[in-house]
């Protein structure tokens, strides 16, 4: 049984279709990255899965429970971490955890709270107001609160936005530790390095699921060709290449320039004379990155949030 099995999900707000026939399945114990630009429907899809929104069309199960009729059962078995910190800032860390423990009827409350505080390393700050925590600590508190009831599925909505790299690293180590214990994780993110730490990724853009698979599969299936240009005055080269037939993306990466196109022949033709036109510039075949693929997806799909 898959932890998540949904198909044909549609959600409209007014005349905007925010989720457009999304189909997704996540196996048990898998970590799946959910990627896509802002306003692409990631949060809405996650909210449908945890019973916070009812889909206009489509069916599915989460942990075997019907998303339309069993949302209360789903809520008991799923841990959902919202994008914005949504615990009580005017309650202390301890009081927030006690509140959650009691809502899930965890007994004894004190034992659960104490061990969660211990794991977090927050025992000494138990009586501190949650609102006074820094972004990284708030995120750790939120994660701790939503895994306290030992959910089978964790839905994380951009959990690391605005968190420093070290805290992000620790966060992901924790996610992998939890997944090895059998927990299934669906996590939305904008960060490419985080996408690469997932077993599989799903890319959604403006409500439509565009790609799904391992990172290597997604990159391969995109069918892009990339050339790396090195040399002096690359800004002028970039300007010259912009808009040439076959050139879809021109992006500076440090001291190099990545030129990406979906049609290999046209791209080669476009780059054929670059070395002659610009003295000292060297063109060599490069590796297409996940980011190149995403940029390609983004420029290819119409923005419906305007």
């Amino acid at each position: 049984m898959n932890a998540i099995d949904v198909h044909g999900l549609v959600k409209r707000f007014g005349d905007k279709t925010v989720v457009d026939h999304v189909t997704m399945s996540v196996a048990e114990g898998e970590i799946v990255g959910f990627l896509g630009p802002n306003g692409s429907g990631k949060t809405t899809t996650i909210r449908i899965m945890c019973g916070l929104l009812t889909p206009d069309e489509g069916e599915g199960t989460v942990l075997g429970f019907n998303i339309r009729t069993d949302s209360l059962r789903i809520k008991r078995e799923v841990g959902y971490m919202t994008q914005k910190f949504s615990f009580y800032e005017d309650l202390t860390i301890g009081e927030n955890l006690e509140f959650v423990a009691r809502l899930y009827r965890l007994k004894p409350v004190e034992e659960h709270v104490a061990s969660t505080l211990e794991d977090l390393g927050l025992t000494s700050r138990r009586n501190q107001l949650a609102g006074t925590l820094s972004g990284g600590w708030k995120q750790r508190l939120a994660l701790a609160a939503c895994i306290m009831h030992k959910p089978k599925l964790l839905l994380l909505d951009e959990p690391t936005a605005g968190v420093d790299p070290k805290a992000r690293r620790e966060f992901w180590d924790e996610i992998h530790r939890l997944a090895s214990g059998g927990l299934t994780v669906l996590v939305s993110t904008h960060y490419m390095d985080e996408a690469e730490r997932c077993h599989r990724i799903s890319y959604i853009s403006y409500g439509k699921m565009l790609a799904t698979g391992t990172v290597a599969e997604v990159v391969r299936n995109a069918g892009l060709t990339t050339f790396v240009l090195q040399g002096p005055r690359l800004d002028q080269v970039a300007e010259a290449l912009q808009g040439r037939p076959g050139v879809d993306q021109v992006a500076p990466f440090g001291a190099t320039l990545h030129v990406v196109g979906s049609d290999k022949k046209k791209l080669e033709a476009a780059l054929a004379d670059v070395e002659k036109e610009h003295k000292g510039v060297k063109v060599s075949p490069g590796e297409t990155s996940l980011e190149d693929v995403f940029i390609q997806f983004m420029s290819g799909s119409k923005d419906n949030m305007a």
């Binding site: 909210r47 945890c50 019973g51 916070l52 929104l53 009812t54 949302s71 209360l72 809520k75 008991r76 799923v78 959902y80 919202t82 914005k84 910190f85 949504s86 615990f87 009580y88 800032e89 959650v100 809502l103 899930y104």
Partner: protein, 378 residues
């Protein structure tokens, strides 16, 4: 000049402010509609010299003098005899329930005494819990009754002068013989204070969660709408209980309000009233989207309930449509109960109907709130 004040910058601020005003529909509607509604409503409804007050007649004989006095009282416009009581006990029940504002008793031997010139008496009992209500009706009483009697007797003017002193109109100002207005105001204030704090506090219950972003988390965790409603409402019920004790103690100690009725009956009624209020506030919070809107809706409800419930102006002074409208406020019913129990010593049968109204409000508000509550973020 340019650095301190620029019309262009002021213009930018003004335009921004007007755009925001227009976007917030509820606020906009309140700014335009509310003054108009309230002006019309209160302008037509409020009347400080109430007329056509319900009165009960206790008269056992049907002689020309009795009829003349009843007719004369009715002609003043103050009295409307819509109850004929068979006994003094029945009349007592009517006035304690507040069904009538006056009981006019004309004794059986009235005609005989008029004819024999033997000091005829009529008794008028007025419900003086609200001193303002009865004053106009009582002030016209003596002359009107005497003149009516004389006309009925058909005596000449000379005889009239002699007979004038003979009619004795006895007026009992019941429940508040000295006409102390605090007796009326303070029990009413209990209701108004409770309404102000309870509705306002609970009206932001859900909008505060929504505005702080904690609602999404609360909904994602396993808690049912009934649990959330009770969790929000019960704490304020306790706060209301504390307020009741404070206000009642102050009423007793500071204003020496007589406390004639049953305390347990009063407290039961207060509890149901507070429950209705917190549920009303909670219902408002399922409708409003921001705390600001919740407070505006609270005030929108608050003002007419004070004006039309009989707290500020005599309920009986309002036209029929306004009286009917006043019934939709829990405060109206609560005021009747507190005044009846505290000042008149009314027992359960006399106030059961009003308590029934409050129970209906509790059920209604709880039902609406549960239906309105959005279990999802749709």
């Amino acid at each position: 000049m340019n650095s301190v004040f620029s019309f262009a910058r002021l213009g930018a601020l003004l335009i921004k402010e007007f755009i925001q005003m227009r976007r917030d529909r509820i606020t906009f509607a309140m700014m335009l509609g509310v003054p108009l509604i309230q002006l019309v409503l209160f302008g037509y409804a409020i009347n400080n010299d109430p007329k056509s007050l319900p009165a009960a007649l206790v008269a056992t004989s049907n002689d020309p003098y009795t009829r003349a006095i009843v007719a004369a009282l009715q002609t003043t416009g103050y009295y409307r005899f819509d109850h004929v009581a068979q006994s003094a006990a029945e009349a007592e029940f009517l006035i304690s329930r507040g069904d009538v504002a006056f009981v006019v008793t004309i004794p059986a031997d009235f005609a005989r005494r008029v004819e024999s010139g033997n000091n005829p008496q009529i008794l008028i009992e007025a419900d003086a819990t609200d001193p303002a209500v009865a004053s106009g009706a009582i002030s016209t009483l003596g002359t009107v009754a005497s003149q009516a009697l004389l006309r009925a007797q058909g005596t000449q003017e000379a005889a009239a002068e002699a007979a004038k002193g003979q009619l004795d109109v006895v007026v009992h100002r019941r429940y508040n013989p000295e006409g102390i207005s605090q007796y009326n105001i303070v029990p009413g204030l209990l209701g108004v204070i409770l309404q102000m704090t309870m509705v306002m506090m609970t009206s932001i219950a859900l909008t505060r969660e929504t505005e702080r972003g904690t609602m999404e988390n609360l909904l994602a965790m396993p808690s049912s709408p009934l649990e959330i409603m009770m969790g929000k409402v019960l704490p304020y019920l306790a706060v209301g209980g504390v307020q009741v004790v404070v206000v009642l103690a102050a009423a007793k100690l500071l204003f020496a309000i007589p406390f004639t009725g049953s305390m347990s009956l009063l407290l039961t009624a207060v509890l149901i009233f507070v429950l209705a209020l917190v549920l009303l506030g909670y219902t408002i919070s399922t409708i409003a989207r921001t705390q600001m809107q919740a407070l505006q809706l609270t005030f929108f409800f608050f003002l007419p309930s004070i004006m039309l419930s009989g707290f500020m102006f005599p309920y009986r002074g309002m036209p029929d449509w306004a009286q009917a409208f006043g019934e939709i406020f829990p405060l109206t019913h609560f005021l009747r109960i507190t005044r009846a129990v505290m000042l008149k010593g009314a027992e359960l049968p006399a106030v059961a109907g009003e308590i029934g109204w409050l129970v209906v409000f509790v059920a209604l508000f709880a039902g609406v709130a549960l239906v309105r509550f959005r279990r999802t973020l749709d």
